[in-house]
Symmetry: C2
Subunit: 343 residues, 2 copies
DNA sequence: CTGAAAGCGCTTACAG
DNA sequence: CTGAAAGCGCTTACAG
């Protein structure tokens, strides 16, 4: 079944294509009668504007691109959901591509999106990305680009982030406030900024409270897995029986640690208190439930799209907005893995 | 920076637009010299074909639509990943929309995708969808549609599924083979076909082994949550202390059950054996690890796209392929929550 | 081997 | 209030 065109409607009605087009778009200079007539026939004939033609004329596709490191990941899929839900409200569709934490792939995906003529781009950078020419390149096409979560300070575009350092500080401070005297940290890999920042927040909290920073209490997670959390927890207890608190880079690892410690008969939070990061849904499910930092994925997606939308609107009216950096609030979610008494 | 057009290249080179277009596409009737010249300049000027114009001419967008009930879900995000990875290989991009398990939304998303002129559509149906005119409608536009995971038998299109009933039977049979005499079932909601099929598989295994089917041993999960699993597990032990095996509709619920039973001091699998469904990554992480049915999400995504691709190719050559139904293999993954001895 | 021309389906500035 | 015309940037059948 061939789609209906403006031409067909015009011919049947014996009027011009111009008038049909205007009637459908409610131009004020078309008579009510004509409008009614055109609209009725359009419905009858199931008319839908050919989006390819519209795109070509208007030079916009009402489509944005989204590149993330990994789709199968609770935080990122929440962000995706936030982006899509917000985009839909504004009549935009979203094309998603995955970089797999690879710089080469990220660049390639960007190229694809550029060829597709998306109106704007949302990216969370791959861990491997250390060169940013592809981003600059994209922006030079006059198209807005917004970075979220994993961003590069050096790139001059809008960014939506959380304050990892401050959040980590809050997490560590909570351990201190609830009586922990010797606090370990399971950090993420050495490279990503957020794992660095969380580590720095941990250190700052110690310093501010005049507690000694002991590098041997910092364990580096490489695959950030449940298993790794368990293994380090066991190792920690053996190597440092005096540790009474751990701040862990991400909930998945923290849950692994909690489970292992529990199996070893260690009392949480009595003997060791634990704070995670991300507020993964399993964190409230396990026992003892995990005190953690809530990282607002869905919200981040929404805000990122909103900002991109603003910039796309600006482009349409030949304006250019100065880049902004939006820091989303994180919150400490107190649960059973830390003590409730404030000392 | 304005994008380069064929016209600009043609003018600079003093040749026609036609020749430039042909040279770039390696038409055999263009001289080597011209081709070299054109291609070089195209690279220099960073030429990219205007996709809107190409779409309009070729009447295809090299884009497909994907509608799923819920993005933030381990199984579905695996499927998305499979689809995107395969689509990319064939030069297709993917627009994702979420139905939120709502029929109305599903219909609306479909409309959006239709307006966008996607070349094909992949859908996993919402639980609430009981009317299928929107699907038929889409197919009447001459565009291929492939259903996956949550499908409707009545719709005459290709489908990619697993055999839920058989898999459930295998799961239950495994409990029987390892010595369970009285087996309960935590099932999903009443409506979705897959929850019905898994229940039927459970019943069939009992029947085939001349074991009594006792409806009071079937618990209906409504939100399929970790917590629900724990609650039903506790209830089950109280109401039916003689039960020694449970087949559970999905891993999330099974993990909730395992955790609670463990907390109650019940030996798994010594006293009660448990089999889940889906092979969620947490299933191998918890202790005891969960015996489950592996549901190949990534694979399902890949296969679904491959089928859609074939049908899109057929459409291009004015053919139409008869619908096929592909049943993907599931596998029983034996772990610690069931006994290893075969009786 | 090269190119003029038609046309994909729409939008909009302009004339009447 | 209506419509003829130009044009978005490309592809391709056809002529030479």
């Amino acid at each position: 079944m061939k789609p209906t065109t403006l031409k067909e409607i015009a011919e049947i009605l014996g009027i011009s294509i111009t008038t049909v087009s205007k009637a459908l778009k409610d131009y004020p200079d078309v008579s009510k009668k004509t409008k009614a007539m055109v609209k009725e026939l359009a419905v009858t004939m199931n008319y839908r504007p050919n989006s390819f033609a519209v795109n070509l004329r208007t030079k916009e596709s009402k489509t944005i691109g989204l590149i993330i490191p990994e789709i199968v990941h609770h935080f990122f899929s929440s962000v995706i959901k936030g982006i899509i839900s917000q985009a839909e409200k504004k009549g935009y569709l979203v094309i998603i591509l995955q970089s797999d934490e690879s710089y080469v792939l990220e660049k390639k995906q960007m190229e694809l999106l550029l060829n597709k003529n998306v109106d704007g781009l949302l990216i969370s950078l791959a861990n491997a990305t250390a060169d940013f020419d592809h981003l600059t390149n994209f922006m030079e096409q006059g198209k807005p680009l917004v970075l979220f979560d994993k961003v590069a300070k050096i790139v001059n575009c809008s960014k939506i982030i959380i304050d990892d350092r401050k959040a980590a500080e809050t997490a560590t401070q909570h351990l201190i406030d609830t009586g922990c005297k010797r606090i370990a940290h399971f950090r993420g890999p050495l490279l990503p900024q957020n794992s660095i920042d969380r580590f720095l927040g941990y250190r700052k909290a110690l310093r501010d409270n005049h507690m000694e920073y002991d590098p041997s209490l910092v364990y580096i997670c490489n695959d950030m897995s449940y298993e790794e959390g368990g293994n380090y927890a066991e190792q920690l207890v053996k190597e440092h029986p005096d540790v009474d608190g751990v701040f862990i880079n991400t909930d998945m690892v923290a849950i692994g640690a909690i489970t292992r410690l529990r199996d070893m008969g260690i009392d949480i939070p009595g003997q060791i208190s634990i704070v995670g990061f991300s507020n993964w849904f399993m964190s409230s499910a396990i026992s003892p439930s995990l005190t953690t930092i809530d990282q607002p994925g869905f919200e981040m997606g929404k805000v990122a799209f909103k900002r991109l939308y603003k910039e796309m609107q600006a482009v349409k009216s030949k304006k250019q907005l100065p880049p902004t950096i939006k820091v989303l609030d994180t919150a400490l979610v107190k649960r059973e893995s830390t003590r409730s008494v404030t000392v």
